[in-house]
Amino acid sequence: MTALWLLFLSLISAGIALCLIRAAAGPTTSDRVVGVDGTVTISIALMVLLASFFDRQIYLDVALVYAVLGFIGVLAIARYMERGV
């Protein structure tokens, strides 16, 4: 049981680390935004997994609010890259 959850958490952490490396090293601005977008989506899944791991239902609300904020942030950055402020 615990070993299985450790496997899940390590897989998700490896995904977040790879996305963050791309966000730090990407050649253009779009690469960095793609890395941050992937990090946001994987972090939502990580928050839901941690809610299940610690048995707290309130963490699901944090994941929902983070999903809304990440979506709005990526849309704002895309609009700024397309035609300025």
């Binding site: 496997l7 977040i16 601005t29 793609v34 929902l64 979506f71 397309e82």
Partner: protein, 115 residues
């Protein structure tokens, strides 16, 4: 039901790891967007539904989060691809086809590389 939820979580985390690997490895902004968006959407959807199956009391809230991700992730990826094409990021050298070049709207765009 508990076992089924854990199988769903396993599939989801494997897809999330593969999405991160695709974002790290692929050569181009558009390829990275493809890998990142598809794998990450399916992985997050499956993981959150799996948590809903493990804890049946949380099923309603998990479905809300999963459907929200399923609806908004392709929209943000589309906006990012459109913005990066319009701001002049070039395709990879070995890309085969660029359908947008056939239209007048795309030929007037600035083509310089952005640092």
């Amino acid at each position: 039901m508990h076992i089924f939820g854990e199988v769903l979580i396993g599939i989801g985390t494997a897809f999330l790891f593969l999405g991160g690997l695709g974002i790290f490895r692929l050569p181009d902004v558009y390829n990275r967007l493809q890998a990142g968006t598809k794998c990450t959407t399916l992985g997050a959807f499956s993981t959150i539904l799996g948590v809903g199956f493990v804890h049946p009391n949380w099923m309603m809230k998990s479905i809300v989060i999963a459907v929200f991700i399923l609806l908004t992730n392709p929209i943000s990826a589309h906006a990012l691809a459109r913005a990066s094409y319009k701001s002049g990021v070039k395709l990879w050298d070995k890309s085969v086809v660029d359908r947008c070049e056939e239209f007048e709207e795309c030929q007037q765009m600035p083509k310089e590389e952005e640092g």
